[in-house]
């Protein structure tokens, strides 16, 4: 005899799960009782939103599927933002929620919420399990769905009586997953690949536009090989940073709203755009009609619905980026690099580098550059949302995939600290930094409690401008400096950290930046840095919403 909860734990173990981020409550008591003496490590967060972000950070850093657990009703509802975050960025997460007993479903019982209904639009799939004999199959399917094709979060809702019910049948391993309606395409169509190669051969001004899909499909090596063999400059989305080393000559950095000028110029001038694992998001394309106006577009994506969604494409290739690029490499010999085009790009890079005022004041960009040089590509950088995120994307030199975790699609403030926690649990030997704003950090600041309790050595660098900086920037530029509800009072974050038993340091001048970062990195345990940056520093260059991406403000003319 085994309980449903026991079967759940065994099923999770079969999937290789060794860590769960969660928060207990009435309906999941049977599961917590099984966890008590199981080999799975449970990290008790301080808010369920942090559990799902931590599972997400764990997944992004490790490439495995992250797992979180919450009780019914309020616990389950607190997962929603994190599921939406993971869904928008295609991150594999399995969320397990408790539910009221099956006999009470639909009765507005205590702590009942229709979580499968609520999460329908923000999960790849979800399950309400009504029979314990389905648990092992459902868990297997959930991990399969979350981690294959276009990845994403899957939720499993387990009524309490399903967890407690005793199953007499000898629990066997579930058979192979059979889902008639779910057969992702991995191999690209051979004819399409041939056509794409034909276009690549003929192009004079080709550019690769690579995104999170390259990271999730582990295709960075193939991407680099293709770029080098064919002399293709590469620009990445916010989600794609790290898929080509930032200091590579072919790297153009990030494109789009806060992209580099040279990336945006290259897109505007290119005659062939090879888009890989990207969505043509509005923050990337600006005014869609003027995005890559002279280019023939090849789009490789595992999700057919992304191809042609926002922009017509000449050669669609449905498939896994790694598999498709691998097939392309088989057929592509080394070719003469397109000298004039690469020369032009080099000139743009020299003429329009990213830059900020060098006046000795405490500029956030300088902090990021210093951190970048100290860690030299060996850390994992997580960000919150806002200016802190954009400065990090612009000025940190990412060298490898899975070293940059950020909420790109949803832009969730409060993502950073819990995601950093999850990444640190997945990669204990790495230095993990959360780059935060003073607004964002306060959205999940309670997680200081978790990193303190488990001594998770996450370093938090708060770029404290006493503003909701990114919103203030828009108000400055587009609302006549009317700073409506964006000013924040000064908070002594070091004192807050200390109250949780975490050490920290306040930094007020540029000359203290490096020693402070060194102290944080050297410290054995979590550490909080409160950088009092120039308050009205802006993120430039910037493409105003709805403009063409080569119409940047605050660029080199600044």
């Amino acid at each position: 005899m085994k309980t449903g909860a026991r079967i759940l734990i065994e099923s999770l173990q079969r999937e290789g799960v060794n860590t769960i981020f969660g928060y207990p409550g009435g309906s999941v008591l049977p599961i917590y009782d099984e966890l008590y003496d199981s080999s799975i490590q449970h990290v008790l967060v301080r808010h369920e939103q942090a559990a799902v972000h931590a599972a997400d950070g764990f997944a992004r850093a490790s490439g495995k599927t992250g797992v979180c657990l919450a009780t019914s009703g309020p616990g389950a509802c607190n997962l929603v933002t994190g599921l939406a975050t993971a869904y928008m960025d295609s991150i594999p997460v399995v969320a397990i929620t408790g539910q009221v007993p099956t006999s009470m479903l639909g009765n507005d019982a205590f702590q009942e919420s229709d979580i499968t209904g609520i999460t329908l639009p923000v999960t790849k799939h979800n399950y309400l399990v009504k029979d314990a004999s389905d648990i092992s199959r459902v868990v297997k399917e959930a991990f399969y769905i979350a981690g294959t094709g276009r990845k994403g979060p899957v939720l499993i809702d387990l009524p309490k009586d399903v967890n407690t019910s005793q199953l007499s049948v000898q629990e066997e391993e579930p058979g192979p997953v059979v889902l008639r309606g779910y057969q992702p395409t991995y191999r690209g169509h051979a004819r399409q690949i041939e056509k794409a190669i034909g276009l690549l051969r003929k192009a004079d001004r080709p550019v690769i536009y690579a995104g999170g899909g390259v990271i999730e499909s582990e295709a960075s090596c193939e991407l680099l090989e293709l770029a080098e063999r064919f002399g293709l400059p590469v620009t990445t989305t916010l989600m794609g940073l790290g898929c080509i080393p930032c200091d590579h000559t072919l790297n153009l950095g990030m494109l789009g709203m806060h992209g580099t000028e040279y990336a945006n110029y290259a897109i505007t001038e290119c005659d062939l755009l090879l888009a890989i694992g990207v969505r043509f998001d509005d923050r990337v394309t600006g005014r869609i009609e003027t995005f890559a106006p002279h280019a023939k577009i090849i789009h490789i994506d595992i999700d057919p619905a992304e191809i042609g969604k926002n922009k017509p494409v000449m050669i669609p290739i449905v498939g896994d980026a790694k598999a498709v690029l691998g097939d392309m490499l088989h057929q592509l010999e080394k070719r003469e690099q397109k000298g004039p085009w690469l020369d032009r790009i080099r000139t743009w890079k020299e003429k329009h580098p990213l830059k900020y005022r060098d006046d000795g004041l405490l500029h956030p960009q300088y902090i990021i550059q210093e951190l970048s040089s100290l860690l030299d590509g060996n850390g994992i950088i997580v960000s919150e949302v806002g200016q802190n995120q954009m400065w990090t994307a612009q000025y940190y030199c990412f060298k490898e995939p899975r070293t940059w975790l950020t909420s790109g699609g949803l832009g969730t403030m409060g993502y950073g600290l819990p995601a950093a926690m999850g990444a640190q649990v997945a990669c204990p030997e790495k230095t993990v930094f959360d780059i935060a704003g003073d607004g964002s950090i306060q959205m999940n600041i309670q997680e200081f409690g978790t990193i303190a309790q488990y001594n998770i050595p996450v370093k938090v660098a708060i770029l404290n401008n006493m503003y909701l900086g990114m919103v203030r920037q828009w108000q400055e530029l587009f609302y006549d400096r009317r700073y409506s509800s964006t000013e924040l009072p000064s908070i002594e974050f070091v004192k807050i950290a200390q109250a949780y038993g975490i050490e920290g340091m306040r930094v007020d001048s540029a000359s203290d930046v490096r020693p402070a970062l060194e102290a944080a990195i050297a410290h054995d345990g979590p550490y909080v840095l409160d950088f009092r940056i120039e308050r009205e520093e802006n993120v430039f260059p910037m493409v105003p919403a709805g403009a063409a991406i080569n119409e940047m403000i605050g660029g080199h003319q600044q």
């Binding site: 499968t116 209904g117 329908l120 639009p121 790849k124 799939h125 309400l128 769905i145 889902l179 008639r180 309606g181 779910y182 999700d303 057919p304 619905a305 042609g308 969604k309």
Partner: protein, 167 residues
């Protein structure tokens, strides 16, 4: 803008319809009509959906539907030779006498069945393509339609081909 008929095979599981309906409203796709029922396969159901949109829009609808795990197959049969039918039950005022005779005559022209006769009303059952039902409705309006109940469209390919076998 064109009317498209989608024949969708789905797993016969709880919640499938809300997944489909949710997807349409979330993505701003308009459903003209929808009909659900069992089909030739024991564990599957078929949903017939009529949507209006241009070809690019329909392409998105189909791709998004295909992404739902419980959806097995989506076929746009608009450009295939097919028959589509709707059914309507119409309760119309029909005092005994000449109007009643007129209505019965109209019914027979439209090959509608009279399925209930009351002292002051008649209920007609009519099947056909939407134009035919619209025409009948228009004709009956002069007598006073008390209630009209219409189903969504169901559709099937002509000849030996089936939606399940179509590539």
């Amino acid at each position: 803008m064109k009317e498209h008929t989608l024949s969708v095979l789905v797993e016969n599981k709880a919640g499938v319809l809300s997944r489909v309906a949710g997807l349409f409203s979330r993505r701003g796709f308009n459903i003209e009509s929808l009909a659900v029922g069992t089909c030739e396969e024991p564990n599957m159901s078929r949903i017939t959906i009529v949507v209006i949109g241009d070809d690019a829009h329909l392409e998105q609808v189909k791709k998004q539907l295909n992404k739902l795990i419980d959806i097995i197959k989506v076929s746009d049969i608009t450009y295939h030779d097919h028959v589509g039918r709707e059914l309507a039950l119409i309760k119309v005022n029909a005092e005994a006498g000449s109007t009643r005779a007129e209505i019965m005559q109209i019914a027979s022209i439209f090959r509608a069945k009279i399925i209930d006769v009351g002292t002051r009303t008649i209920v007609l059952e009519v099947t056909g393509n939407p134009d035919k039902i619209d025409a009948l409705e228009k004709l009956l309006r002069q007598y006073g339609i008390k209630e009209l109940v219409r189903t969504g469209r169901v559709a099937i390919l002509r000849g030996a081909k089936t939606v399940a076998s179509e590539k």
